[in-house]
């Protein structure tokens, strides 16, 4: 199994093949529906997004509450297709990898190929298990969105499967 460290620059992504399993360590940022809407609105107006998007990994996730003494609560992926409308804009801004669950639209697949990015899936409905890979978590933007805020997560060996690689090849069904 391949191990990767963030930032996920194009050279690290280029060798990944659809169907390959990866363990990712480093910094990833959560963003789901409402955060995407706000980031996209900021980008379209020429504004500054709340995180540096260049070579950034975006995780479609809204964690549950953090139990006392824990780093984070349950933190599995949410359905990626709801972010399809926003993904091309974020990819254009430099996002190099997305983590979620389920399939993507044809347009997103084309944009992934064009921008030499990657779409990973992770174990869906396994938030308690994935929480074990998170070393640090802090809200860095849109705290008013509650669980939909942007969290900066420091992860170690976060399990991923390449669903769409940088040449646009897809795992069957995605």
């Amino acid at each position: 199994m391949r191990k990767l460290l963030t930032p996920l620059t194009k050279d690290k992504i280029a060798g990944l093949k659809a169907g390959e399993q990866v363990l990712l360590s480093g910094i990833i940022y959560t963003a789901r529906d409402q955060a995407h809407k706000l980031i996209a609105a900021a980008l379209s107006k020429g504004g500054k997004p709340p995180v540096e998007l260049s070579s950034c990994v975006i995780y479609y996730c809204g964690p549950s509450g953090t139990p006392e003494g824990k780093v984070i609560g349950s933190c599995g992926p949410t359905t990626s297709s709801r972010m399809d409308a926003f993904a091309p804009l974020l990819l254009e801004a430099g996002v190099s990898a997305m983590i979620g669950k389920g399939g993507r639209s044809d347009k997103v697949v084309r944009e992934i190929k064009r921008r030499k990015a990657v779409y990973f899936i992770t174990y869906a409905g396994c938030g308690a298990l994935l929480a074990r890979t998170v070393r640090k978590a802090e809200v860095i933007a849109y705290s008013h969105l509650g669980p939909e805020a942007v969290y900066r997560l420091e992860v170690e060996d976060f399990p991923l499967i390449v669903a769409i690689d940088s040449s646009g090849r897809k795992l069957k069904g995605f």
């Binding site: 139990p67 599995g76 669950k101 389920g102 174990y123 929480a131 795992l171």
Partner: protein
């Protein structure tokens, strides 16, 4: 009349909310283990291993099984010989949900207005009450994740159409859900009544033991047929392919009108969570 304080219903609801979100249902666990034994596809087997390990992690660490702790549904079967005393029943239930969800570190996934999307909270729960014979109250908490709820389907069939058309519709809804709703699925179906009845029956069918088929011969046949066809879709656990796209199909039916045949599909992800208690 047997008097039951609303506070007792509230406490029970709180306990059930924590249990449902943290401990995977035993019937679901049994089917997942059996699916893992049969799985030959490497990636799909790894996904099923992760699901089983997740259930152990959630129970051991008292963490919710999934970050989507759902829209909380609370079903109350209230014996007609019961008098509920104290505060309002809906207030008691919502108070219980709040306490149980907070105790289990659940997510505040409920927004108070569907369009403004303002204010996330644990409540209000969706509360369904049935008046039943007897002097007891059964409380069932069902946290329903929305990745799967978004794949709900309702179709008003013609009364001259057969079960085969419904079977094909349910299979097409499952194909449409693809990998989005966290397969392997448990597929709930409601047939009959009005449109609302069919939807509610589909949801309630998910509360039935997933190892048990319908006692009705026609429905049992359809359950088996749908499961067989869905498992030929090659979606597999988390969309990774193979023969395990659904673990079970539960159908509930109700009398309906001579002019209609409503059928609803309510899919559950593999983390089908619910808990019940009788007061």
């Amino acid at each position: 009349m047997r008097k039951i304080p609303a506070a007792k219903i509230s406490d029970t609801t709180a306990e059930l909310c924590a249990r449902a979100n943290i401990i995977l249902r035993k019937d679901v666990l049994v089917l997942l283990r059996s699916a893992r034994k049969k799985e030959k596809n490497g990636l799909a087997a790894a996904a099923l291993d992760a699901i089983l390990e997740n259930a152990r992690a959630a129970a051991a660490e008292r963490t919710p099984l999934c970050q989507d702790t759902g829209l909380p549904y609370v079903f109350l079967e209230i014996g007609q010989g019961v008098l509920i005393t104290g505060c309002r029943l809906d207030a008691a239930v919502n108070n219980g949900v709040k306490r149980g969800y907070a105790f289990a570190s659940c997510r505040q996934s409920v927004v108070s207005h569907p369009l403004s999307r303002s204010g996330s909270s644990y409540v209000p729960a969706v509360i369904h009450t049935d008046i039943v014979p007897g002097s007891k109250v059964r409380v069932t908490v069902f946290p329903k994740g929305f990745g799967s709820e978004n794949k709900t389907g309702l179709k008003m069939f013609r009364p001259t159409e057969s079960g085969d058309e419904i079977v094909n519709y349910v299979v097409s809804c499952s194909a449409e859900a693809g990998a989005d709703a966290c397969p392997p699925y448990i597929i709930g179906c409601g047939i009959g009544g009005g449109a609302d009845t069919a939807c509610l029956l589909a949801k309630k069918s998910l509360l039935r033991d997933v190892r048990k088929r319908s006692p009705d011969r026609l429905l049992r046949k359809m359950e088996k047929e749908i499961l067989r066809k869905v498992n030929r879709l090659n979606i597999g656990p988390m969309g990774l392919g193979g023969g395990c796209t659904a673990l079970a199909v539960n159908i509930e039916a109700s009398p309906t009108h001579i002019a209609g045949l409503p059928a609803a599909v309510n899919i559950s992800c593999h983390a089908l969570r619910s808990a019940s208690a009788v007061i």
